[in-house]
């Protein structure tokens, strides 16, 4: 029986500064043992505890897709002691990963449907995973239209620019990327995510929407979807709360009876409407 508190050892393969404020860095992690890599079977939407001995653990959404191979990608905002330590680590350093944890976006259960993705700021991480998974030749044919709406404050704060540019150019998805204000050198959309969503006006017929972003974005995006005729069970959101164990025991991430770490982080709006807003 595996002790699920003990992290798999990994080495940092590559570090990439993601944003102009340098607060977000991406880390590609490589398993030290190939059997651990095989045991780490994940699907888009799941997260893992990044473990740094002597500092602790942080729960971070998995930004890579299993279709990209065995290395894992995490994009981490520098906030507390663990993420600050991680930001000071470099390629070749050893750390740990514990997971995969939580449920995932219900992609396989929604084959044949149109998928609308709405992301704000750095909440885009697990949606990058989702996009890469959806656009993979093994999966693309199982889904209808794919719409990707993503916004950040400034062009320099947008994550994964190379990736979404490629998605845009592939013609496999409708990609709408926006920034809050006009900026030098930016020729793309300007405006907040809810406004852009209203302009794109994704149709609710035979579709689900995956929405992930700061509370303010969700608050103003919701009425846009309501107006377009979307129902609560078509709207899927991913939550985050403070976590320790990550496996539904330690008691801090729960929203009502549901543990974000185990029963979530992905919930439908129908589910969330019946729960306290403790997130």
């Amino acid at each position: 029986m595996r002790n699920t508190y003990v992290p798999y050892p990994v080495s940092i393969k590559e570090v990439r500064v993601e944003t102009e404020d340098k607060q977000l860095k991406s880390f590609w992690l490589q398993f030290l043992n190939s059997e651990d890599a095989s045991a780490f079977n994940y699907t888009p939407g799941q997260f893992a505890e990044l473990s740094i001995s002597g500092y602790g653990e942080i729960p971070i959404g998995i930004a890579s897709s299993p279709t990209e191979g065995r290395d894992l990608l995490f994009t981490v905002n520098k906030v507390g002691s663990v993420s600050s330590r991680l930001h000071n680590m470099k390629a070749g350093d050893i750390m740990g990963v514990r997971g995969p944890l939580g449920n995932s976006y219900p992609l396989k259960a929604n084959k044949g449907k149109n998928i609308v993705i709405v992301a704000g700021g750095f909440a885009v991480t697990t949606l990058r995973s989702t996009m890469n998974w959806l656009l993979h030749p093994d999966n693309r044919g199982d889904f209808g239209e794919i719409t990707f709406i993503y916004g950040a404050r400034t062009p320099g704060m947008l994550l994964y620019t190379q990736e979404w540019t490629a998605w845009q150019q592939s013609g496999q998805a409708n990609v709408h990327v926006t920034v809050d204000r006009e900026a030098p050198g930016w020729s793309g959309l300007v405006g907040f995510v809810p406004t852009v969503t209203g302009d794109v006006a994704p149709k609710p017929d035979n579709a689900i929407a995956l929405i992930c972003g700061p509370p303010i974005m969700i608050k103003f995006t919701q009425p846009v979807f309501d107006k377009l005729g979307w129902q609560s069970d078509q709207i899927i959101m991913s939550l985050e709360n403070r976590m320790k164990c990550g496996i539904g025991i330690c008691g801090r991430c729960n929203v009502g009876p549901e543990y974000v770490c185990k029963d979530g982080p992905v919930f439908t709006k129908t589910q969330l409407d019946k729960l306290p807003r403790e997130y």
């Binding site: 001995s53 653990e57 709360n241």
Partner: protein, 342 residues
Amino acid sequence: MSQKILAKDKVDAFLQGLCRDQDLFAPVMKDGKVGWGPVATAAEALWEFSNTEMSPKDFFFPQTECMMRFKNVQGDPQGMIMQAEAPLSRPRVLLNIRPCDAKAFQVLDLIFVQDEMTNDLYWRDKREKTALIGLACNDPCPTCFCTTVGSNPHGETGLDVLLVDLGDHFLAKALTEKGEALVKDLPAAAAGDEGQAAELKKAAEAKIKGGVAMDKVNAREVMELYDAPLWDRVMESCLNCGTCTFCCPTCHCFDIQDETQGEAGRRVRNWDYCMSWLFTMHGTGHNPRGTKKDRVRQRFMHKFKYIPVKRGGEIGCVGCGRCVQLCPVNIDVRKVVNDMNA
């Protein structure tokens, strides 16, 4: 399962047998309080007491527990890899545990061990290597309400053996295979013993006066209970001190922290509590349970609504009454639940 007799003058011999291959613990008098300690003889253990001040959860879920270790040498990459702490080396017996506390462990089993991923080996190891010999309560105290939350002063749930004090001897009921092995050398019970124990059980049940009603709590939706006005009143007196969580046999929230000293590093878990403001605070400063009301409500909702919803109706309370006795501002869980049920 067999029913045996443990004569009071044979208890020492029985305990000697238990101690041979196992570590034996029982309620003892410590600094004027009833607590848990190692025993070898009958005289060291308590046989007449209401209950220990703290629950025995520490045996399975220590207040501080080392989960894994690493060598804190940054230049030594292998050293930084976590190694799990070794399992318990010797089996243990907890003697004279009260039925409510044994029931609490069975509730916690449902939380610590759920599936392949939620499978707390630290908890499991200690549970599997520990036998519980319970001592039935013939004289419950005024704060006890076990019978109204699915437990009983003579409850057998979670125990391997139940001892019932029949005056000059104990009836020893084996309840599991583990328990059967513990009492195999004791003589069989006499014809009247079982009937006498049943009488004592009935008398003990009758002594429990107060309690909680759960019918409406069970029937109501989460949000109806969550939005009920009673929390404003409970919140006013609650200090968020956490005493109730500390003494509670089912409170199981924990924190995980890394500790280093020179080259020694370890990852430990410590008891934590939902009354703390830091417990849920995000790195950004946002706090989903940011007010005292949110936190006190969480504790009661967790035990009486969330755990029943998720764990097949099992209540996260066994009615031991410790929190009623120890709360510095006299919050009585029975009144809170009855208000939820009003």
